[in-house]
Assembly symmetry: C2
């Protein structure tokens, strides 16, 4: 239950789908989830976090927010990483 579970934001999945997926993971797989959004999915990552926070309130804390970029097919793509932790 130690290593953060990585969830990459998908273009085709809805915000609600991702919220449910993360709740599942926090309940069964890991205390921490790394939610990662690339490029146009960066703002969706923030929407997912806010929707999750509305749902779980004090049940989760945002451990870390970081940004950066990775090279994919010679193009540089920005990402946003949100580390979400279950509080109890």
């Amino acid at each position: 239950m130690n290593k953060p579970f990585e969830v990459v934001v998908s273009r085709s999945k809805s915000v609600e789908d991702h919220v449910l997926e993360i709740i599942e993971i926090l309940n069964h797989n890991s205390n921490e989830v790394d939610l990662k959004g690339y490029g146009f999915e960066i703002n969706k990552a923030v929407d997912i976090y806010n929707a999750l926070k509305d749902r779980l309130k004090e049940g989760i804390t945002l451990e870390e927010v970081s940004i950066g970029s990775e090279t994919k097919d010679r193009k540089r793509i920005s990402y946003l990483l949100l580390r979400i932790k279950r509080s109890y």
Copy 2:
């Protein structure tokens, strides 16, 4: 030279325009810039930061990354805030 200067990412301005604007501010107005992107402009905020970092390298540090949401016209809109500080 103390209060962070707020720059809101604009839909119509290019990443490069914002980079030049922030360099101007860091040189003349303030040691710190709060770069804020709302909704679809969140990913542009990250692109601006990465382009700025490429340009200024160790000249800037990312002091803080935070996310949240604000209510506008009864709709909730997510934002990403990047606090950028001039290193020297």
